[in-house]
């Protein structure tokens, strides 16, 4: 296979990978917005104790 043809195919594949990644980022953004609008808790415990995350009876 000629180098030009290989480069052309790789360029096409790169475009598709790019489109897929952008779509994935868009989907994660949409999921985040949907969860926040539904009132889901967007915070979680990490290394530091955070009293505001305690369930209040």
């Amino acid at each position: 296979m000629k180098d030009d043809a290989i480069k052309e195919r790789q360029a096409r594949n790169n475009v598709w990978v790019g489109v897929t990644l952008v779509a994935f980022v868009g989907l994660v953004f949409a999921v985040t917005v949907a969860k926040m609008m539904a009132g889901h808790n967007m915070e979680a415990f990490d290394h530091v104790y955070r009293p505001q995350l305690e369930q209040v009876e």
Binding site: V31, A34, K35
Partner: protein
């Protein structure tokens, strides 16, 4: 396992070749049944989260398809039905299929846990494991019961869809699982009857190869008889409806009649008309599942507008 030479694959395939590794036709059935499982559940889901969840279920199914193609590349190359797949066709290296399958499995399971819940994600992870390891690596080459037990992998999607909405497993989702689980053997054996040589050439111990076509013909009919009560039981569950029951009774009777016709035929008769009945029943089995699940959803929609008294046994 895959020992296809990769010496001729130096440049990688087209994007479409990698997409074919995900078995798009199987994915479409997964999307459909998972969506029905989600939509008939008694808990409503945000449309964006529902869309994302179905997408990640489909991605998980696609990942298991890529793992299956990686493992089965050697036998795919020996069957007419599968010799055009990306790995045996020399378009994608087996190692690329393995990497794609593993990465997509991880992404699909983690993202489903984020968009839906851990129960749905755990079921998806188990489905991928079951299809790639239990079915592809173990059962497929070792027992004629391969597709009987392996059929479970294809039966999980509506159960996962249901779990996305409810966060649990219940009798309704188990019934949906059983419908696809018991539908798989007659569906695949109808196919195996007219591609028998393919499986024999590849040393895959399909029932047609190990027990002969006459025994397979009987088994096709027996399994439709076992399938019938489960299909009808779904009609008197909390997601059943009069519409579903009428449609289910009709398509089930048609499928069982087709299977009975297959069981009455001899191989000589089938060869004489180029497996006309077997091919027709195989196509019919695809429509059967589509119509059945569509009726389940339509019945629910209709119930919302015209509520009717209907027994709820399960």
């Amino acid at each position: 396992m895959a020992d296809i030479s990769t010496s001729q694959i130096t440049y990688g395939g087209e994007f479409g070749d990698y997409f074919k590794l995900l078995k798009p036709r199987v994915m479409s059935l997964v999307v459909f049944t998972a969506a029905i499982g989600l939509l008939v559940a008694p808990v409503s889901v945000n449309p964006v989260l529902a869309f994302a969840s179905i997408l990640f279920i489909a991605l998980g199914a696609g990942a298991s398809g890529a793992l299956n193609m990686w493992w089965d590349a050697d036998i795919d190359a020996r069957m007419r039905r599968t010799e055009g797949r990306p790995i045996p066709a020399g378009k994608v290296a087996a190692s690329e299929a393995l990497q794609l399958g593993l990465w997509l499995s991880g992404v699909a399971v983690v993202m489903l846990a984020i968009t839906a819940n851990f129960v749905a994600a755990a079921l998806l992870a188990f489905t991928i494991f079951f299809y790639a390891v239990v079915y592809s690596m173990w059962l497929k080459r070792s027992t004629p019961q391969n597709i009987v037990i392996g059929g479970a992998a294809g039966a999980f999607p509506p159960m996962i869809g249901w779990a996305v909405a409810t966060g649990s497993v219940s009798i309704e989702s188990v019934l949906m699982f059983l419908v696809i689980f018991l539908w798989t053997p007659p569906h695949f054996w109808a196919l195996a009857l007219f591609v028998r040589d393919d499986y024999a050439n590849a040393d895959v111990p399909m029932l047609t190869v190990t027990h002969g076509t006459d025994a397979t013909r009987k088994q096709v009919f027996v399994y439709t008889l076992i399938l019938a009560p489960v299909v009808l039981a779904l009609g008197v569950s909390s997601i059943g409806s009069p519409l579903y029951t009428v449609v289910a009774a009709f398509v089930m009777a048609r499928f069982a009649y087709g299977a009975w016709t297959i069981s009455r035929r001899t191989t000589a008769e089938a060869e004489a008309d180029n497996f006309k009945t077997e091919k027709a029943v195989f196509r019919q089995s695809l429509y059967f599942l589509f119509v059945l699940f569509a009726a389940l959803l339509l019945g629910q929609v209709l119930n919302a507008y015209i509520p009717l008294e209907w027994p709820e046994v399960f």
